[in-house]
């Protein structure tokens, strides 16, 4: 009997274990980077809480926008106008907040404008059968130009630029929102909501299906237009939250607000393990993991190379690029196709 039991003992599945490790690799990388970061801060006797606060502030807006954008990427689409959308909605939101003093309106208007701009992208592309990426390129130019016009005409001039600044009484009103606790709670609620929609509703399932095999999905009756519009609406929600938190944090809007968001979203979600072509392997938490990982890595590099002259910023970026490719390579090692990917 024992012999039989022994023979029936399940063998260790190396493949399963490997697959699990690969899947968890972005999370493991985040944990290791975080540990390493804490060690470096400790060794240098830096204020850990202040640095972590700075990290949260660096990453929050990126993670909010990128998490919403996951729905677009799941469909295998791109949106390069996210940064411009964040800028434009922040401008409108700030102007409304200055006029009304209502924090609720700040958030509502930012979200409505961001969702509206996102939906406009989706509608134009879907009604006129345009490639989505090119539509977003056009929207990038239009939104940036409109935002610049508004800032220059409605803002105040100072030094070398124009900006729309919040007066001190309105800044003070925002103080309770500009705290780590509020930001973590907001981030947590948003992430949970997106996880729920992505993993436990038809919306997420159908979007993964569309991203994986559009023809097949269409034949089963899934409407590409409808779910495209839903994806952009959800992305707009992320952008709106991100832009309102930008105003809460920076207390000002200028033409360079959210300037780095556009491309950073790509980096964050891919770094977090999201397949760029979308589909079933898409993970809603990729933005969270990738956004924080990338910023921690950059912060570590800046500390390590702090004393280098001139070449520091370039070296940090080179190393970031190498790490980026390495992490993405390892994370997708199980998913190699025979032919070159496109």
């Amino acid at each position: 009997m024992e012999q039989v039991m022994e023979n029936k003992k399940p063998k260790f599945d190396k493949y399963k274990a490997k697959k699990l490790v690969i899947t968890l690799l972005p999370l493991l990388a985040l944990i290791l980077l975080f540990v390493f970061y804490i060690i470096i801060l400790n060794v240098n006797d830096y204020n850990i809480m202040m640095n972590l606060r700075s990290l949260l502030n660096q990453s929050l807006i990126l993670v909010l926008v990128a998490t919403g954008a996951i729905f677009i990427f799941t469909l295998g689409q791109f949106d390069i106008s996210l940064g411009a959308n964040a800028l434009f909605s922040a401008v409108i939101g700030t102007l409304v907040y200055k006029a009304t003093g209502s924090i609720a309106l700040l958030f509502i208007i930012c979200i409505l404008v961001a969702v509206g701009c996102s939906l406009l992208n989706a509608l134009i592309a879907s009604v006129f059968h345009l490639p989505m990426f090119v539509t977003t390129i056009a929207m990038l130019s239009v939104l940036t130009a409109l935002a610049t016009f508004l800032i220059q005409s409605q803002g105040s001039a100072s030094g070398t630029s124009y900006s729309i600044n919040l007066p001190s009484e309105l800044v003070d009103k925002l103080a309770p929102l500009d705290t780590p606790i509020f930001k973590i709670i907001l981030l947590g609620i948003f992430i949970l909501a997106m996880v729920f929609i992505f993993n436990f509703t038809k919306v997420g399932r159908k979007q993964k299906f569309l991203g994986g095999n559009e023809k097949c999905a269409k034949l089963t009756g899934i409407s590409i237009s409808l779910f495209g519009i839903i994806a952009f609406a959800l992305a707009g929600l992320g952008v709106g939250l991100g832009s309102s938190m930008t105003v809460v944090y920076a207390h000002t809007v200028s033409t360079t607000t959210a300037s780095s968001i556009g491309m950073s979203v790509f980096i964050a979600i891919v770094f977090g393990g999201m397949p760029i072509n979308g589909g079933a392997r898409s993970r809603i938490y990729s933005a969270l993991i990738g956004g924080f990982s990338y910023n921690i890595m950059t912060n570590i590099l800046f500390i390590l190379f702090q004393s280098m002259e001139g070449a520091r910023d370039g070296l940090v970026q080179v190393i970031s690029g190498v790490f980026f490719l390495a992490i993405v390579f390892v994370a997708s090692i199980n998913y190699r196709s025979k032919n070159l990917p496109r």
């Binding site: 390129i137 491309m263 910023d313 997708s332």
Partner: protein, 362 residues
């Protein structure tokens, strides 16, 4: 029979001529209207003319470079950083060799092309080695190239290595720009339309799996594509130095990707014109149109509003043209006045098939 053949041939020629010349004629007409109404004219001085030829070359080469990979499903963000890095390395090497004297410009051009090709090959090799989606590889390569540029230059404008009489001569010689255009077109035509490599490239583009299964080697093909793109962008990098005899190297955090966007509109226009002729001729015509528009925008440089208006106009043109391209038949029906009839007909057909929401009649 002969008459019928002659007629259909003539119709064919008219159709091709219409397809090829409509857009450039419309662009020229629009420019003339704007110029005449503002009392100014473009390309009235030597400076503006050789600026026009140089920019045409830049747009053309960038468009070809982008389209080579993009039409094979390989999106490449790194072409901007590649062009800047090629010109930076070429400037440094040329200055080390010649100290700004003699034939600095042609030497720098040659080295820029070679360095561009090498960098492109490296980028391609990385793509085939890692087997990651090309857009991801290009993101990483962009970060690396931009970082290297910054490490070499410290983010400063490179001027000493690029300010010399030879560069000024190249800037002011419109015929050199034309030679570059003609040579580039010739080489690209021969390589992609008249060589085995080109046929393999088109086969892979049309059907990757089938092409690979028939024995076409995809990996060397991809690497050569990236190499050719690199050489083209190396040339662009050199041409970008000419206006001010300087290289702006503070391009961290994807500051270099902007050049890619100037190629989208000419790529689509060129693709459309290419249906009636060779697509390279289409790209050339489109690049000339874009360059003319850019010269026109420069006339309104006296007003602040120019930059914003320019971006919006370009964006509207891009979307407008794409709407036309993807709805060509609908646009033709609209022009013929048959669109409404078609919509009604389609609706009736749907109704007959029972696909409408109308309640059935009692």
């Amino acid at each position: 029979m002969e008459a019928i053949n002659k007629q259909s041939k003539a119709k064919d020629i008219r159709k091709k001529a219409f397809g090829i010349f409509t857009i450039p004629v419309l662009v020229i007409m629009a420019i003339l209207i704007v110029c005449l109404s503002s009392g100014q004219m473009i390309l009235t001085t030597d400076v503006s003319f050789y600026g026009f030829t140089r920019y045409t070359a830049v747009v053309l080469l960038t468009t070809i470079a982008l389209s080579i990979n993009l039409s094979s499903g390989r999106f490449d963000f790194s072409i901007g950083s590649l062009s800047t890095l090629s010109s930076v390395i070429a400037a440094k090497i040329t200055y080390a060799m010649l100290a700004g004297s003699g034939a600095s410009a042609p030497v720098m051009l040659l080295i820029s092309i070679i360095v561009g090709a090498v960098l492109g090959a490296l980028s391609g090799a990385l793509y085939v080695a890692l087997k990651l989606p090309p857009i991801i590889t290009s993101l990483g390569v962009t970060l690396i190239f931009e970082g290297i540029i910054y490490m070499i230059s410290g983010g400063r404008y490179i001027t000493t290595e690029t300010s010399n009489a030879s560069m000024i001569f190249f800037r002011e010689s419109w015929w050199i720009h034309l030679i570059i255009i003609v040579l580039a077109l010739g080489v690209i035509y021969l390589v992609f339309d008249r060589s085995k490599f080109g046929f393999n490239y088109k086969a892979l583009r049309a059907g990757q799996n089938i092409a690979v299964n028939t024995g076409i080697k995809e990996v060397p093909n991809a690497i050569i594509c990236y190499t050719i793109c690199g050489a083209l962008m190396g040339t662009v990098g050199f041409l970008q130095v000419l206006p001010g005899n300087q290289i702006a190297t503070s391009v961290l955090n994807f500051g270099s990707i902007g050049i890619m966007f100037i190629a989208f509109l000419p790529m689509f226009i060129g693709g459309y014109i290419g249906k009636y002729t060779n697509d390279k001729i289409g790209y050339l015509i489109a690049s000339i149109c874009i360059s003319l528009l850019s010269s026109m925008f420069a006339l309104f440089n006296t007003k602040t509003i120019t930059a914003s208006i320019q971006s919006i106009v370009t964006a509207v043109l891009l979307v407008g043209f794409l709407i036309f391209l993807n709805n060509e038949q609908t646009c033709k029906d609209l022009a013929n006045g048959t669109l409404i009839k078609k919509i009604i007909k389609q609706y009736k057909e749907k109704k007959n098939r029972g696909e409408t929401n109308d309640k059935p009649q009692e």
